[in-house]
Subunit: 145 residues, 2 copies
């Protein structure tokens, strides 16, 4: 019996929380007709106009091909526009359109509501403690690779 009960596995609980988070944010983004990854990209784009797709991928914590997929869908919807960079011809500058900004703001309202509800489940001390413990999780797991 080298195995481990699911209840004892910290990973199980992390996964469960993440699933609930994704479901809640998905519902919150639904009125804006965007997915959670799309919302994340739009949010960063509002803050850093003209950013490259690779840099945006790093901010969102995904790989460049993944961001490429997300941006392609956003472009088809007319939420972003991509223009060649003046000097670095290989770089595409990505910017929000007016429709993209509107969608971002609508989705953001829902996302912030979810975050506030989540934060309300904890005292300020607990919140900071949770963040600290989660940080240690990521650290330990990254070191394991």
């Amino acid at each position: 019996m080298t195995s481990m009960a699911p209840e004892e596995r910290i990973g199980s609980h992390v996964k469960r929380a993440e699933q609930a988070l994704l479901a809640a944010k998905n519902a919150a983004c639904k009125p804006a007709a965007v997915t959670v990854p799309q919302y994340a990209a739009l949010l960063w784009l509002a803050e850093k106009p003209g950013i490259s797709a690779a840099a945006l991928a790093r901010l969102c914590g995904v790989t460049p091909p993944t961001m490429n997929t997300v941006l392609k869908n956003l472009q088809e919807r007319g939420f972003i526009e991509r223009t060649p960079h003046e000097w670095h011809r290989n770089v595409l500058e990505t910017r929000l359109t007016d429709a993209g900004r509107a969608a971002m703001e609508l989705a953001d309202a829902g996302a912030v509501r979810v975050e506030r509800a989540l934060a309300a489940a904890f005292t300020e001390e607990e919140r900071q403690l949770l963040i600290e413990l989660l940080g240690r999780c990521a650290e330990a797991l990254d070191a394991e690779r």
Copy 2:
């Protein structure tokens, strides 16, 4: 400025921990040539032979179509076999093959190693506290929907 800084969002940290967890488990499952969802299904199948796909989906926390995809890939690899139920003709009983059990055990060794490394980053008190806080996260988020 109704927005919220990413650092203040608990969700950001949950997501980051989950991503690190997935990456670590993925690497741990690589020697067995299975993905993390495949490993999860194999693990439950070892414990509950003959379970239905829908029940397995509930245990793994995914939808039936998702589990269908995972099982299809496992079946193509010869890791599981599915036979019609004696009475309920519409139900397929799923069981591990010998190769499936071997793959599960190999992947489980890696997964348990990851979990132990993760647990080692905390004291017993911290571990229980983290689990408790994560549980409250899931609870608050589920209530939000």
